[in-house]
Amino acid sequence: MIEWATIITLMLLTLALALTVVRLILGPSLADRVVALELISLIAVSFIITYAIQVGRAPFMDVALVLALTGFMATVGFARFLERGGHTDE
C-alpha cells in the first residue's frame, strides 16, 4: 500500500510543482513570484520526504529539515529586499 501511496503522492506533488511554476512565470508582481518560490521550496521538502519513504532511507529527512530552514531564509531575504526598495515592477 505504501508503494502506491508514494507513487500517487509524487504525482500529486509534480502536478502542484507544475501549477506553481505557472504562477512563478505569470506572476504580475515580484511579491507573487516570491509567494510561488516559497511554495516551491515547501513542495521540494515534501518531495524529499516522500522519496525517503519510497526508498526506505531515514537520513534523507535531514536534507528536508535543512531545506525547510533555507526556504524561510530566502523568503525573508526577498521580503526585506522588496521593502527596502528594489525593482518592484518585474
Binding site: I8, T9, L15, A31, L42, A58, F72
Partner: protein
C-alpha cells in the same frame, strides 16, 4: 499498520499541497493567493513530514519530522506576513472587487511608513481617502 497510517497521511498531505498550488494559480490577487498557499501548503507539508515520521517508526526520525513540522509551522506565518507587508508597500494590485481596504489611507508609500490612527487624528498622516470601492454594500 504503521505503513497504512503513513500512506493515508501522505496522500492527504499531497492533496493539500495540490490544493494550495491550485489556489496560487487561480486566485485573483496577491493576498488571496497567499491565503491559499500559506494555509493549505503548510498543512500539506506538515502532514507529509508526519507521514515520514510515522513510516520509519523510530524515535529519532520522529523527532526530525516534528522538527520539520515545527519549523514550517513557526516560520510560515512570519514569512507570509513579511511578503504581504512588502507587497502592500510596493503597491501590488488588488482584485477589482475588493470591498474594504482601511489601511490604504494610513500608508505613506514614499516613506514606507504606516501611520497609526492616532497620528492620523493629529494630522501627521495623509488626509483620509475613500476606500477603493465603496458603493453602499
Amino acid at each position: 499498520m504503521n505503513e497504512s497510517i503513513a500512506a493515508v497521511i501522505l496522500l492527504i498531505g499531497g492533496a493539500f499541497v495540490v490544493i494550495g498550488a491550485l489556489g496560487a494559480v487561480r486566485m485573483p490577487d496577491l493576498m488571496l493567493r497567499m491565503h491559499a498557499t500559506t494555509k493549505a501548503g503548510i498543512l500539506g507539508g506538515g502532514l507529509v513530514a508526519i507521514a515520514g515520521g510515522v513510516f520509519f517508526n523510530e524515535s529519532e526520525v520522529m523527532v526530525r519530522a516534528l522538527a520539520i513540522l515545527a519549523f514550517v509551522v513557526l516560520t510560515g506565518p512570519v514569512a507570509a506576513h513579511m511578503i504581504a507587508r512588502a507587497g502592500y508597500f510596493t503597491g501590488a494590485p488588488f482584485w477589482e472587487r475588493t470591498l474594504k481596504d482601511d489601511l490604504r489611507s494610513n500608508l505613506d508609500k514614499a516613506g514606507g511608513y504606516l501611520y497609526s490612527a492616532q497620528e492620523q487624528r493629529e494630522g501627521k498622516g495623509r488626509p483620509q481617502q475613500q476606500a477603493p470601492r465603496d458603493d453602499g454594500e
